[in-house]
């Protein structure tokens, strides 16, 4: 096709209207996506990052034809996602993370055979295509087992094989590494990287910054239904330029202490990540100020673990962008 872009979106919006109750129905509207413009070049590996509920999955579902935009337009390989659905569907693959989305009672092989029929893979190509994909995702030898006995990592690899059955030009990967162990996640990244290297356009959503940093040519950060930043990983990291980061491992930090940290002079962002009983506090401050002493003073009486000061990462930049939204 003529278009130089694999994915184009202009002013993309999606509003959900819900109704609850029968006798006195209450109607409400949620604007999940509030006007997104983006283009993804052919063969590009493009990351879409954002917190839960930011509008990532809704955006993908509009691009892959499962949802009609409330406003705006989108094209895949030059085909409009609303009016040319069949052409779009022939050119896209869709993979999402999690345990569901496969027929548990069928073997991995039969799952692929069925989706090969659904996605229009010519019969004479099905056997070889399935064998190649099983090999690619490392499921050769396990293909005759029922999917209900597969581990989460195996299911995820089968999801990817399914998404690639019809050799799509554009692959949507919606949090593919969620719940996958580190070794399997590394394999997954390698597979995704190889796909892009071989010319497949990949749109990836993920919560793992390291994954996005390693894989993506460009990244868009979406929050509150809008694009907040767009650029290469290096360009996004510059959002945290001029900052320094103090990381503190702590146990049982009261909300009042976190509020106090946010109020410290020079502190720009404070994030708390729960890791079981451990809380990881990340405090970003102006680079010329050393706030480590003030931070520890505010945490007096709290049981602490490791304390470290470091340069900002893509994740810090992401936190800064999302908090500014």
């Amino acid at each position: 096709m003529g278009s130089e872009y694999a994915i184009e979106a202009e002013g993309l919006r999606r509003t959900y209207r819900t109704r609850t109750g029968w006798l006195k129905p209450r109607r409400s509207e949620v604007e999940a996506v509030r006007g997104i413009d983006l283009t993804v070049r052919r063969g590009e590996l493009f990351g879409l990052l954002g917190p839960n509920g930011a509008g990532k999955t809704t955006t993908i579902k509009m691009l892959n034809t499962l949802l009609i935009p409330t406003a705006g337009t989108a094209r895949i390989c030059g085909f409009d996602v609303v009016t040319r659905t069949r052409e779009v569907r022939r050119r896209i693959g869709y993979v999402f993370g999690g345990d569901r989305g496969l027929y548990d009672r069928l073997s991995g092989l039969d799952n692929l055979r069925y989706f090969a029929e659904l996605y229009g893979v010519p019969p004479h190509q099905q056997k070889s295509a399935i064998a190649e994909l099983l090999d690619l995702v490392g499921l050769t030898g396990r293909e005759h087992e029922r999917v209900e006995g597969y581990s989460r990592g195996m299911r995820q690899r089968l999801h990817i094989a399914r998404g690639l059955l019809h050799d799509p030009d554009v692959l949507f990967l919606d949090e593919p590494s969620i719940g996958v162990d580190p070794v399997a996640a590394r394999e997954l990244r390698r597979t995704v990287g190889n796909l892009a290297a071989n010319g497949t356009t990949v749109l990836l959503t993920t919560h793992y910054m390291a994954e996005a940093d390693e894989l993506c040519d460009r990244i868009a950060v979406i929050a509150d239904g809008r694009l907040q930043a767009l650029g290469t990983p290096a360009e996004l990291r510059s959002h945290a330029d001029g900052r320094r980061v103090v990381e503190v491992e702590a146990y049982g930090v009261p909300d009042s202490a976190i509020a106090a940290l946010r109020g410290l002079p020079g502190v720009r962002e404070t994030a708390v990540e729960e890791r079981g009983t451990l809380q990881l506090l990340t405090v970003q401050s102006d680079a010329h100020l050393d706030v480590q002493g003030d931070v520890l003073r505010e945490l007096a009486g709290v049981r602490l673990g490791r304390v470290a000061s470091r340069e900002p990462t893509l994740e810090d930049a992401y936190v800064a962008i999302v908090n500014a939204a």
């Binding site: 999606r14 959900y16 209207r17 819900t18 579902k61 892959n64 034809t65 499962l66 949802l67 009609i68 659905t85 069949r86 052409e87 569907r89 022939r90 896209i92 869709y94 999690g98 569901r100 989305g101 496969l102 027929y103 548990d104 009672r105 069928l106 039969d110 799952n111 055979r113 069925y114 989706f115 029929e117 659904l118 996605y119 229009g120 010519p122 019969p123 399914r162």
Partner: protein, 261 residues
Amino acid sequence: MSTLRLITTGGALAYRALFNWTSPTMYAGTLLAGPTFQLLFFAYLGRQLRVADDGFFIVGNAVLAASSACVFGGTMAVANERRYGTLGHVLLSPRSRTAIFWGRVLPYAGNGLLIAAFTLTAGSLLLGLRIPLAALPGLGLALAAGSLACGFFGLTLGALGLRFRDVWVVSNVAVAVLLLLTGVNVPRGELPQWMIGVGHVLPITHAAEAARLLAAGRGLGAAAPALLAELLVGAGYAIVAAALLKTFEAESRRRASLETL
């Protein structure tokens, strides 16, 4: 050729993926033993109340036996996609929805035919009904037509699963409605006029009528109008199911109705 593959190979794979009662114990218990005991129940009740002879109940319940597999199967063909979270992937297929879902009905209809034939055989042996040998091909046709119509009826109910969460309630009610209104156990002449009218557009009604004529040795010529009527009812449900699937899919894209469930 490729559409034929989608209907046959695809339909068979979907049957194995989505039909809940494929294990031998579930199959024998739910689809073979259950209808046989139901047949015996109505036959003995009919004897007690002097409603009709054994042949009426044996043939009627044999035709009805297909309904569980076909109605619930047709519903499972759509509703279980939601259970497995595969519906989105099916809807992303560029292939014809009609071919995908009509193909799914065929194994259920085949299954229904097998169950109906088993129930007819078991009922005849247990209660001593003699069916003329010459009637068997015609009876096979009547059972097949009833099963096919029932399968498309089930798919119509299943299509509602794209719009409504509790589609199983509808299937349960539908099976009870078939039991009452199709004349398989209650002579249709005894029913109020409106029930007779509803029965006309339900699957099984005309197949049961045709099967009874054939079992009585009346020949295919006498049963042909009822057989044709059953096929027309089945074709009607096939069209309604395809239209509902198309409508609800379009609605799900527009209103995100599948997102909210």
